[in-house]
Symmetry: C2
Subunit: 326 residues, 2 copies
């Protein structure tokens, strides 16, 4: 019989979870941490819910943990911030197996440790629905933070990597019978993109070297087109896209991947707008999939340009929104 929360109680669970936290910070009503001198604090919150953001059908507990940590570190990267740590709020049914929780925390800390970060503390309580609330804290030079509303016209739109892979990986997990002709390595690439996304904190190092005169951006967690739309709306601009890099593994799985690339979501790349010369320098520093995909302009619409032909982008391509009735 598997051990669940009823047998160890809240105190027993908290004691086990403390082993996953940064040593020395847990045990009081709150955690105390010191910000590096001259830095501002960045704070971001995500709530993840069973059957909405993860499911035993497609996501092992360790992967759910990794993805939750990655999503929050990605939000920090999108603001230009280096991670200080996260807090974890857990609401769980009493019959949740202890192994599921331990694996969730193993996944969380595996991702956090990869990026020199850790768990600062949290809270546990019972609920009918497995729920994970994460707040990530980061540090940024106040004058180097990345916001959405600061894009300018004639800026180059940069993606830091390929899009659509996470959506394709989810499809392979939901429908393993698809992609029968796919090489094992391609399947692995796509599934890993979904299960173990990598927050692009590495991009901050290159940006520090390039120091663009101005920058705007966010991450592409809700889809590439959504990110471009949000940045343009916040900056009162529009955009024209002229290329969408397609990962070789994605092309071999899906002959028409444009919709997944634009609206698939959860690739956790950065979408940045900056002067074209700085953009070219950044793309040259990054790996395959990084590219200048378009430019901004005062005309507030978002267009797709192919040769001399231009069409509005986004019709029939809506991103995922919670709550909306079908």
């Amino acid at each position: 019989m598997s051990i669940d929360l009823r047998s160890i109680g809240e105190a027993g669970l908290l004691q086990r979870l403390q082993a996953h936290c940064i040593p020395g910070v847990v045990g009081d009503d709150g955690a105390i941490l010191t910000l590096p001198p001259g830095k501002s604090l960045v704070v971001t919150t995500d709530v993840l819910v069973d059957s909405v953001h993860f499911s035993d059908r497609t996501t092992a507990a360790a992967d759910a943990g990794w993805r939750a940590a990655a999503a929050n570190l990605s939000d920090l990267a999108a603001m230009g911030a280096t991670p200080l740590g996260i807090t974890v709020g857990l609401a769980l049914p009493p019959d949740t197996p202890l192994t599921w929780i331990e694996e969730l925390y193993t996944g969380l800390t595996a991702c956090l440790n990869t990026y020199n970060s850790g768990i600062l503390g949290g809270d546990v309580c019972r609920s009918a629905t497995r729920t994970l609330a994460i707040t990530a804290l980061g540090a940024v030079d106040a004058d180097r933070s990345i916001c959405r509303h600061t894009a300018r016209p004639a800026g180059a739109i940069v993606v830091t990597g390929y899009h659509g892979l996470a959506r394709a990986g989810l499809e392979l997990l939901l429908h393993p019978e698809t992609g029968q002709d796919l090489a094992v390595s391609d399947r692995q690439t796509l599934v890993t993109a979904h299960q173990r996304p990598r927050p692009r904190l590495d991009v901050l190092t290159y940006l520090e070297q390039i120091r663009p005169d101005w920058i705007a951006g966010m991450d592409s967690s809700d889809g590439l087109l959504d990110a471009i739309t949000q940045i343009c709306q916040a900056s009162s601009l529009g955009a024209t896209l002229h290329q969408l890099p397609i990962a070789p593994a994605l092309a071999r799985y899906c002959p028409q991947p444009q919709e997944w690339i634009l609206t698939g979501g959860e690739d956790f790349e950065l979408v940045l707008v900056m002067p074209p010369a700085a953009a070219a320098a950044l793309v040259a520093s990054l790996g395959p999939g990084a590219a200048i995909i378009g430019h901004t302009h005062p005309d507030p619409d978002i267009w797709w340009q192919s040769g001399s032909h231009r069409q509005p982008l986004g019709l029939g391509m809506t991103s995922f929104q919670h709550f909306l009735a079908p």
Copy 2:
């Protein structure tokens, strides 16, 4: 027909909730804030779940919001920290009435504004269970923070106010037929203690004047006896209590209120241990209900002393624990 989340969607909800946030901080992947020079950051997280922490039966949405904010500000006060703001993660069923959410935020901001604080941002998503995850951020002088593990023997144990009132207020809401002979003002005192608890941030001002040589403490959200036990365990000490102040309204409602005072919980007072002279000065500054209730000693047990008679405290008086099977 009442408006619910299905009719406005995630984007519509986020737009409405932004009106409740601190102006200028929302709209990016995270909020940026600057810590006062020389201060350390304190972070604390709470998860509140429908039918566990609040219920439409006993708690209006505005009260649920107030209590959630108060609980987190109380954790900051317990660490000696002044609030910077909170993030709010909301997981909600799609049929949640919009009025419930608006009232929840009205309660949250009413409490936060009372203590010169506000909402820094958050996240919304759908769930089968109404869930509220709050992370509070505060600032503290690193050498003035209050922890649990720093109590010393022969310290005076101070409570900053009465206990048991919130538990009595809950009883009156659950069983309105009780307390028929209670004066309206007494009933109001008890119900308000449950619905609108006040985090004791005011105590920090007095502590700053008194500057005790050493201090330990936490808040009494999980019960007075739990707080004393936690501080003693973290400091490898025990305690003897010799008095428990009883609020007049509580005495008139409940002739034997000791169990509610010790284990009722949610009074959100501070339980502090410090040198006796400093403790006396602090109690003199505070209002009715503040008192020195006992002292710490190396003997690790917790005792109740009445005249020359002494008995172990805590038998049959367990605090609320999530998950444990009955």
